[in-house]
Amino acid sequence: MPSERFRTLLLTMGGRASFIRLLVVAVAIVVVFGVLNPSVFLSGQNLQYVELASPEVAILSLAMALTMLTAGIDLSVVSIANLSGVVAALLMTNGQSTGLALLGAVGTALACGAVNGLLVGYKHVPPILATLATGQLFSGLALVASGGTVVKGLPESFTRIALVTVAGVPLIFWVMLIVAAIVGVVVAKTPLGFRMRLVGANPTAADFSGIRRARVLLATYVMSGALGGVAGLIISARAGGANSDYGASYVLLAVVIAVLAGVDPEGGYLTVAGVVIAAIAMQLLGAGLLSLSVSSHVVNICQGLLLVTMVLLNTWGTALSGLFARRRVTA
């Protein structure tokens, strides 16, 4: 059915209003900083920086957005990333091969995700509580495993991942695009994705239509955990080490990006393209402000203001457009 296909396409592309709003913001950021400081902002070096810094943020935000799709939240995703990074780093520094370390990291992330999923799905713990507690536990375990220091001395075969470029674009940027595509396909095209959307949109209806909610939630949190693991590997490859406290502010940033992208925190709606664009836009905003040589703390202020503005637009935007429409009719 063409109309059905169009709707699923739209779902991965984002709802029209919020998606256009996001695009306007992203383009505005590029134009404003491009005009203000073209020699720095539009330089290849700056672009390279954004390409390298976006993937970890985008993947963490995708993990957050996935759980928001089912009307949940994953506050533990950064802890999972750090724990996986520490596990991989420890395996590598103890003489294991890089491949085994990657497997170990992903396995750890899957296990962590499964713990979240069991608590949320089968034990009916509210997601924010469950992931608050497990986040504490995972980062505590990472702290113990790493001994409270940065695990250094990673082999070159691993840190190279962050440096390799394919067709002029960093490998990790490709990884981000591939991960996003997989998430998009799973959410839009598979039965699991359909169930996840329904569980988020209306859990009661999902129960009555014979969907096993616990199983769907388990799968969601395992996926979210796996994404956290991938992000953790990217983070430690870029940093050349792993520790338990890396990027504590990413939890908040991931929520900000998901909301900017127009993901509905009350569930039922996810836009993969929106999340990726929002993550890149946030990095562009940061890079742009820094290119004007303002303090890096002004970036924080601007991110906060941007979030407030977007939320205000989401709340009052429709009322405003209604105002315009009415005016057109009377004129």
């Binding site: 509210p126 980062s139 303002v294 924080n300």
Partner: protein, 339 residues
């Protein structure tokens, strides 16, 4: 049995007693004034933050900006506030910090009400604005010489006793301030109409507004009180540590939320007590204090609290399954009512 278990506060007290007993069997010295004073001193600031957060959570929302409010109020006060030894000593300093906190709380309330968004998202935004403002415009360096009144207050002790092994152990006089705030908030929640409205709004904003409770007014009040308490907590923390370090609380939001949850405050709103929040903080401080005597490296503290939290939550949900689980990012006033 069910009723006893359902009383989370009794459970916390039992757990604390068990912990003290276990450590005291190994080290009889542990059971004494020194441990009591240590735990109380370590908990003072946490208790104030937890009481403020508890108020917001009961009114139906998760505040993550309290630490930013606390440190910004305290840091700005120390930097720009009265420095000399005025006629009222430290009083103006404390009042100023509390007032700044109150103002920042009102900003939170304005964002939540005007943008009609969840408290979590609104305070995420405001907290990065507050922290950014502090570092960009107020300053980011540690101030190690506090105004004279704060210095003398920091070394004024209510009790001083002989230490268990050697030296002396003491309890700062500011514990009285913490106590007064706890009693005031408790009385507010229990005896005033506005206080009862907080529970009503948190339980069901729609029902509360139909019962002629002004939901926005209640929210403004809650955020104002929570902000003021956070501002007070910030300046107390600065006074006790003897230095104003803007990075003191960075990334510790979840720790306070964990204590509040352990204390039996329902994260979806409508339920919670000052007593519970206080006990939650005390338990975490006691766990931290007991790890070393129990032969567990302090590095395990976070993992131990996490495991404890999971156990507490599992128990809470296993008992309270009758309660409807609702999405955590619920907008303040849900427009769709479930049939």
């Amino acid at each position: 049995m069910r009723r006893v278990l359902a009383n989370q506060e009794l459970l916390l007290i039992g757990l604390m007693a068990l912990l003290v007993l276990a450590v005291s069997l190994k080290f009889p010295d542990f059971f004494g004034l020194q441990t009591l004073f240590n735990v109380l001193t370590a908990s003072m600031v946490g208790i104030l933050f937890a009481v403020g957060v508890m108020l917001v959570v009961v009114s139906g929302g998760i505040d993550v900006s309290f630490l930013a409010v606390g440190i910004l109020s305290a840091y700005a006060t120390v930097k720009y506030g009265p420095q000399g030894d005025g006629p009222f000593g430290a009083l103006p300093v404390f009042a100023l910090s509390t007032a700044i906190g109150l103002g920042l709380g009102l900003v939170n309330a304005a964002v939540v009400i005007v943008a009609r968004t969840s408290v979590l998202i609104a305070t995420l935004a405001t907290s990065s604005i507050y922290l950014g403002t502090m570092f960009a415009f107020v300053g980011g360096e540690v101030i190690s010489t506090l105004p004279q009144p704060l210095q003398s207050l920091g070394s004024t002790h209510l009790f001083t006793a002989k230490g268990a092994v050697r030296g002396t152990t003491s309890l700062n006089i500011l514990i009285l301030v913490v106590l007064v705030v706890c009693v005031l908030v408790w009385a507010f929640l229990r005896f005033t109409i506005a206080g009862r409205s907080v529970f009503a709004v948190g339980g069901d904003a729609e029902a509360a507004s139909r019962a002629a409770i002004s939901v926005p007014r209640t929210r403004v009040l809650v955020f104002a009180i929570a902000g003021a308490v956070a501002g007070l907590a910030g300046i107390i923390s600065v006074t006790l540590s003897g230095r104003a370090d803007p990075t003191t609380f960075m990334g510790r939001e979840l720790d306070t939320l964990a204590a509040v949850v352990l204390g039996g405050v329902a994260i979806a709103g409508g339920k919670g007590t000052v007593r519970g929040a206080v006990l939650g903080v005390l338990l975490i401080s006691l766990v931290t204090a007991s790890l070393v005597p129990l032969g567990i490296p302090t590095i395990w503290q976070r993992a131990a609290v996490g495991a404890l939290l999971i156990a507490g939550i599992l128990l809470q949900t296993a008992i309270g399954r009758r309660q409807r689980i609702r999405p955590i990012l619920d907008a303040p006033a849900p427009e769709v009512t479930n049939a």
